[in-house]
């Protein structure tokens, strides 16, 4: 395969005889995806589709390439995004949000930390209080949309892009929504007298 500089790639991909450059780029994308996704089985037929979808995006976005990396690195970044977005969609398609969320069982709130023999009774009590407070703040301090995002992503464990699709938003906006929610919760905890260091240390195992 011809080695090309970024300028040569751009010229070739935009030129009247772009077919060879597109074919070379497709080969690079397929090889990279095979390697990147090798821990996933049964993907061979999908990888060609991912590479084709990525190529269309790449060709549509050549004007947005800023030249801060090799063009092939930029192109592979797009191919990986295309592949993972689709793989996550397939992996999560049969899982509903209701399946992910805890049911309100009405049972007592008994965090596992209470049974940790390494925790002193005082430490266990303060840990339990902090967990109960955080759960209460999630219920009472966040907007309904922020709470929904926290519950789906941080409690339910759904990937951001899949959660965003179901919440009719996009991954970036959902990240920002959760960031705002985390900031709000942190602000509440700090206003109640906790420090950042205390929060970080709250669940570290003490040195024996």
């Amino acid at each position: 395969m011809t080695e090309r500089t970024n300028k040569e790639w751009l010229t070739a991909l935009r030129g009247p005889e772009a077919d060879q450059a597109i074919s070379d780029l497709r080969e690079i994308l397929i090889r990279g995806l095979h390697y990147a996704l090798s821990h996933n089985g049964e993907l061979d037929s999908l990888i060609e589709d991912f590479a084709q979808d990525a190529l269309l995006k790449i060709l549509d976005n050549l004007d947005n390439f800023r030249g801060e990396s090799k063009l092939t690195t930029w192109a592979q970044k797009i191919a990986v995004r295309v592949a993972y977005t689709e793989l996550r969609r397939k992996r999560w398609k049969d899982i509903s949000i209701e399946d992910l969320l805890p049911e309100d069982s009405g049972s007592d709130f008994t965090p596992a930390v209470l049974t940790d023999p390494k925790s002193s009774p005082e430490r266990s009590a303060s840990q339990k209080m902090l967990l109960e407070l955080v759960e209460q703040l999630i219920q009472e301090s966040l907007t309904p949309r922020q709470r929904e995002a926290i519950m789906i992503v941080m409690v339910g464990g759904m990937p951001l892009d899949e959660a965003a699709r179901r919440m009719d938003t996009n991954r970036n906006a959902l990240y920002k929504l959760i960031h705002d929610a985390r900031k709000r919760l942190k602000q509440e905890l700090l206003s109640q007298g906790f420090t950042t260091d205390e929060l970080l240390a709250a669940f570290e195992t003490p040195e024996m």
Binding site: I28, R31, G32, L33, H34, Y35, A36, S38, E68, S69, K70, T72, T73, Q76, K77, A79, V80, R81, A83, Y84, R88, L101, P102, E103, D104, S105, S107, F109, T110, P111, A112, V113, L130, L131, V134, E135, I138, Q139, I150, M154, V155, P159, L160, D161, R171, N172, A173, Y175, K176, H179, R182, K183, L185, K186, L189, T196, L199, L200, A202, F203
Partner: protein, 77 residues
């Protein structure tokens, strides 16, 4: 609603590590090709692109794609 204690602990950790300014997935994606090349060249990405590195620590989707891109580039230098 009863949230599992382990999940709540993870949420407390995430809250504690929250910064006033964090970049989102779009900005991370914009910088990711440069970031990954610097990483492969052994450069100090923590110093050069700390916001990208922090985002990758927080965001599972972006981290998964970053790790896949590293693998892809190792196959196609």
């Amino acid at each position: 609603m009863k949230i599992n204690a382990e999940t709540l602990k993870n949420i407390v950790r995430a809250i504690a590590k929250t910064r006033p300014v964090e970049i989102g997935c779009d900005e991370c994606f914009e910088e990711l090709d440069r970031f990954v090349e610097m990483k492969l060249e052994g450069k100090n990405v923590s110093e050069a692109m700390p916001l990208v590195e922090e985002h990758l620590e927080r965001c599972g989707n972006c981290r998964e794609e970053f790790e896949a891109l590293l693998l892809a580039l190792q196959a196609t230098p």
